[in-house]
Amino acid sequence: MKQAELLIIVPAFNEAEGIRGVLADIRSRIPDADIVVVNDGSADATAAESAAAGAAVITLSCNLGIGGAVQTGYRYAAERGYRLAAQMDGDGQHLPEEMGRMRLALARSGADMVVGSRFVERRGFQSSRARRMGIALLAGLLTRLLGREVTDPTSGFRLCGPRAIALFASDYPTDYPEVEALVEMDNAGLRCVEVPVVMRERRTGTSSISPFKSVYYMCKVTVAVLIAKTRKKKWSVRYEA
């Protein structure tokens, strides 16, 4: 059995309606990658649909939320020794044809992770105004904290190299993990770069973040990021395998 170099992790919660099309799209655009769907305790036929589309399926017996689901994918990648692992949403927001450029960027920059950003070139679906404002606030916070430009900290379109896979397999934030994960990487001394990508509006399903939740989202993420930042141990010796 020849295992691919790249694993595409697709976390999915109740995405039965569109998952098959999304997976087929990924398979045809990135034929040399393996796909694993992490079914986060869906109540619908997400798992069956994904298996029918030819992806490996990991079904979590209860809903862990996006953080727990994505981490399962990274654990799978680490266990099986994939060199690269990408996470893409199960709703078709992330265009698989961008993966080629992301891989190129990862190889060229020598970074540990590449994040697809909507806001570098501002093309494609740009999200609602309120959301853009929230993202801009978080981006400003992160730019300051990490000391380098971050434009799309909430993007879940990411490609990880071996060191980032190992880090996320052992420790990944829960609840709304994307922003916090960037700080965690920085704490561990890993580097990440952004690549401009075009995103699509979601085709099916609804966003996990409703207007009511977005205030909570901003507070939780801000506090989590600030606390995560204090975890950085500048003085201690870090043991790395």
């Binding site: 109540a43 619908d44 399926v57 979590l60 017996s61 809903n63 727990g68 799978y76 829960t174």
Partner: protein, 150 residues
């Protein structure tokens, strides 16, 4: 009248103690937490037997109205207990997440081994997804539809 009240509070504390012992015997309460509760009930019994202890303590730290010291101690105890429980719950959540992930990964490995196609027979799986599909279709019904995020 006064004596009766103290006797009553002692009886209450003592019965609390007995209930605790029964709970621990029946393994409804882990010893780890039980010790805390046992200590509390011991303190309650002591105070109801020797109420002057509170008065003396109040005088010692300069609290004018002795019973308010009792309230303060009670409140502090409850706060600590709550914090302790939240910490314990966070640890449990972390473990549940870890276990759920490990279980799911093992299950996936098991199923792909059963299929005899640990990822290599794409065509076979597309044509004969029955095994995979069946297993997961059954499972999706069993899953709690309103699955709460931990």
């Amino acid at each position: 009248m006064k004596l009766n009240l103290y006797l009553l509070s002692f009886l209450l504390s003592a019965s609390f103690f007995v209930v605790l012992i029964y709970m621990i015997r029946g393994r409804k309460l882990r010893e780890q937490y039980a010790l805390l509760w046992l200590a509390l009930s011991a303190i309650m019994m002591t105070l109801s037997l020797f109420p002057s202890v509170i008065d003396r303590m109040a005088r010692l730290i300069g609290v004018a109205y002795a019973p308010s010291l009792l309230y303060l101690l009670g409140l502090v105890f409850v706060l600590f207990l709550l914090l302790h429980l939240t910490i314990a719950m966070s640890a449990t959540t972390r473990r549940v997440i870890d276990l759920t992930q490990t279980l799911a990964l093992l299950e996936q490995r098991n199923i792909s081994a059963d299929n005899g196609c640990a990822g290599q027979q794409e065509e076979a799986r597309i044509k004969l997804p029955c095994h995979n599909t069946q297993v997961f279709a059954d499972k999706s019904h069993r899953t709690d539809p309103g699955g709460k995020t931990i």
